[in-house]
């Protein structure tokens, strides 16, 4: 049911949205609405990016040169801004993901330590 799915939703960890958006765009160009759906579905309804987070993020990514945008018609015949990941964006994504993995590993090491390192 929708309700139970909603209750399982959790807030995005700050700093991960760019990574998720860029990753989504590596699967092919997509518009904002489609990106939010892709993240929702591929996270099994756990992550739901709000429009107030997504659109500012997309503008941010475009300003940074990590994505490029073009107005087109969507499948539903609506005007939509399609985003493509750039070469720079791919590099940034790789860096970001590496940093993320390092952070996760570091935190995991601390959280599973049996005693203080001091």
């Amino acid at each position: 049911m929708a309700k139970s799915a909603y209750q399982n939703r959790i807030e995005l960890v700050q700093g991960t949205l760019d990574m998720l958006v860029l990753k989504t765009l590596q699967w092919g160009e997509q518009h904002g609405y489609g990106i939010s759906q892709a993240i929702r579905v591929s996270s099994n309804e756990v992550l739901q990016v709000e429009t107030g987070s997504l659109y500012p993020a997309l503008h941010r990514l475009e300003r940074a040169g990590w994505v490029s945008a073009e107005w087109k018609k969507s499948d539903a015949n609506q005007r939509a801004k399609f985003y493509k990941i750039t070469m720079l964006g791919k590099k940034h994504l790789a860096n970001d993901y590496e940093r993320w993995g390092k952070m996760v590993a570091t935190i995991e090491a601390i959280m599973s330590a049996k005693e203080s390192a001091l």
Copy 2:
């Protein structure tokens, strides 16, 4: 060298500091300065919590009832505020860690997916 260690440092992901502090306190009571050292050392110099993050965080945790504080003398014979994790804090830590694990798994699922879920 110190320099290379510094260059490897990365910023903390938002929302993880509370978890790291509470975990550190599960190893035994400790004062702020000691907590920051413990995190630095146990992360192999990757994480360095700044005082401008740490002290506000400790006050936050105390206000929330997740830690209790008491002024004592440190090993170096300095006045220091020693923090202890409370029962409530232990519960919170467990919840936090579970939520973190779920988030990491969810993000990993997306980041390693070969194609769009749509």
